[in-house]
């Protein structure tokens, strides 16, 4: 399949993520949309790793894209653990995970 299809799919997913972050007000859903953005980038990385096959000059050309995905997954897991901890901490204090609820700082 041509690479353009993959780019289109990844960009679509990424845009859904961005729009979700901007318009949704539930912290958990915003969080899921951020994960969607990261995974769109992962998809793109894997797709591109196939278009840059390894050669004798650049032996790592295809592999490093896929390696990157593993690192992104690790980092995303670390972010999830911290992020969910923050959301739980907030829920304990306010009994809500609404992002709009938090506008105390803007006075």
């Amino acid at each position: 399949m041509p690479i353009q299809y993959y780019i289109a799919l990844a960009v679509t997913l990424f845009s859904i993520g961005v729009v979700g972050v901007l318009i949704r007000r539930n912290a958990i859903i915003v969080f899921m949309c951020i994960e969607l953005m990261l995974n769109a980038a992962n998809l793109l990385l894997v797709a591109f790793s196939k278009t840059h096959p390894a050669t004798s000059v650049a032996p790592l050309a295809g592999i490093d894209g896929q390696l990157f995905v593993f690192f992104v997954m690790v980092v995303a897991a670390a972010e999830v653990s911290v992020g969910l901890a923050i959301i739980v901490m907030l829920y304990r204090n306010t009994h809500s995970v609404d992002v709009d609820f938090l506008n105390r700082l803007k006075n």
Binding site: L38, V72, T94
Partner: protein, 475 residues
């Protein structure tokens, strides 16, 4: 490499000591010893005594500039933890962990000052940011702190997502993540002559990376998160976030575009139709405009400092526009000038009960030493001659003028520097010329006062002899 490994080890040491050391007074001493060892290790490496020789496959490259930046960052952190140790202890119960997180943030900064691969850029940014989300929310029962933490987390991971998408697109355009290709002729590689640095994917990716990095350094138009988060998080960690961490993000930013400029020519960029320098100028002017104009209208000094940190970021961005040797020297000077002054201001602010401008009224009468130190810090931030802040701004403007063709940006910078004098001097005015009593939330010890005066003296001495800092870059 010394610094990266040691900082990770000391982070773990701090975590273990918080589990096994019962004496809460001991943590800050352990952390200070760790920081000093870190400083020594980094200086050793600067003079070519790397203790470990780990092959990094060109993913990290330890240049003199990056190592010297590490030294300055560690020195500023030592100053920060010596000056604000009491405040760190007052934030909450988990003192050892706070220091551990600070070490992990430093580890991320060291990676950012020496990366040579977009993978390392991504990992460095994340190692730097994730501990900060926790530090921002360190005051768990305080709603403002919670809110700042959640906002910082959502904004930070959003910008990470944008950065990551940019990296993926750059990978699509060029075929690898490396910034510089050592020992390999690019033109013969598969990704070489055909589409190297010429595809639209690459440019789109670079623009997304630029957006992500602008988020991290709080440059306009992506600055809106900064004031809320700096205001909401505990004052000690605000001062850490606004100084050392921001400088670390700047080093990554500069490094990326400096290397990229060496690899591509203006002609290639012109074919694509993106004028990077014009893009940078627009970002600089917007950042200076938003930061300075909004800072004028703030009544809370903490919030004013948050906006002023955006304005100062605008000045640091000058080095991104010029990208020459003067800009690099200027950036180092700026890091020192801005960090020392801001750490001092926040350290004294954290002791006060009232963060508003009225809270500073009559400080010169009741606390003359602190008022003197505050005045010097504010003078340095506004760039008055005989303080290091003047030379930092001077080098930045000089670098832009040397680039040629961007005189108007330098002129705009000078105008905004003059505007910034207004809101910095308002604090000095209320300290010296208004009647009132300053109420301190926490008692001020003699050591604290001495350290404040020492920091003020550092600023004045370096303002007289800025070459002291720059000499170490070359010798």
């Amino acid at each position: 490499m010394n610094a990266i490994i040691l900082s990770a080890i000391f982070g773990i040491v701090m975590m273990l000591s918080s589990a096994f050391v019962k004496n809460t007074k001991a943590y800050k001493s352990i952390a200070l010893v760790g920081l000093i060892l870190l400083l020594l290790a980094n200086i050793c490496e600067t003079y070519s005594h790397a203790w470990l020789n780990i092959p990094t496959f060109d993913m990290l490259e330890f240049s003199r500039f990056g190592l010297y930046f590490n030294t300055l960052a560690i020195a500023c952190t030592i100053l920060f933890s010596a000056f604000s140790q009491r405040e760190i202890e007052r934030v909450g119960r988990y003192i050892g962990e706070y220091f551990a997180l600070i070490f992990f943030v430093l580890c991320g900064i060291f990676i950012l000052s020496s990366y040579n691969n977009l993978l390392m850029l991504f990992i460095g940014i994340e190692i730097m940011s994730i501990p900060l989300y926790i530090l921002t929310g360190a005051r768990k029962e305080n709603l403002k702190s919670n809110e700042a933490s959640l906002k910082y987390f959502l904004m930070g991971s959003f910008s990470t997502g944008i950065l990551l998408m940019g990296i993926a697109l750059v990978y699509g355009g060029t075929g690898d993540f490396a910034l510089v290709h050592h020992g390999q002729d690019i033109s013969t590689s598969i990704a070489g002559a055909m589409n190297k640095r010429m595809s639209f994917l690459d440019v789109a990716g670079m623009i997304l990376i630029l957006t992500g990095m602008c988020f991290k350094v709080s440059a306009a138009p992506f600055h809106f998160w900064a004031p809320d988060i700096y205001d909401g998080s505990p004052s000690v960690f605000t001062s850490f976030m606004a100084t050392i961490v921001k400088a670390g993000a700047f080093i990554a930013f500069i490094r990326l575009f400096a290397i990229r400029e060496e690899e591509t020519t203006i002609l290639e960029n012109a074919i694509i139709g993106v004028d990077w320098k014009m893009l940078f100028s627009i970002i600089i002017v917007a950042t200076l405009l938003f930061g300075n104009i909004t800072a004028i209208f703030q009544q809370s000094v903490k919030r004013m400092l948050a906006y002023s940190s955006i304005a100062q970021a605008g000045f640091m961005l000058f080095s991104l526009l010029s990208l020459n040797d003067t800009a690099k020297e200027g950036l180092l000077l700026y890091v020192v000038a801005y960090s020392v002054a801001t750490i001092g201001l926040f350290g004294i602010l954290a002791k006060m009960k009232d963060y508003t401008l009225a809270g500073y009224n009559g400080m010169a009468k009741s606390h003359p030493t602190l008022a003197f130190a505050n005045a010097i810090f504010l003078l340095s931030l506004s760039g008055i001659p005989l303080t290091i802040g003047f030379f930092a701004k001077y080098y930045m403007l000089m670098a832009v003028i040397q680039t040629g063709g961007y005189m108007w940006v330098a002129i705009v910078g000078v105008i905004f520097a003059v505007i910034s004098v207004f809101y910095y001097f308002r604090v000095i005015w209320s300290m010296y010329f208004k009647e009132g009593t300053v109420e301190l939330k926490y008692p001020v010890t003699k050591g604290f006062k001495i350290l404040a005066v020492v920091m003020a003296l550092i600023i004045i001495l370096l303002g007289a002899f800025p070459q002291v800092i720059l000499n170490f870059l070359y010798f």
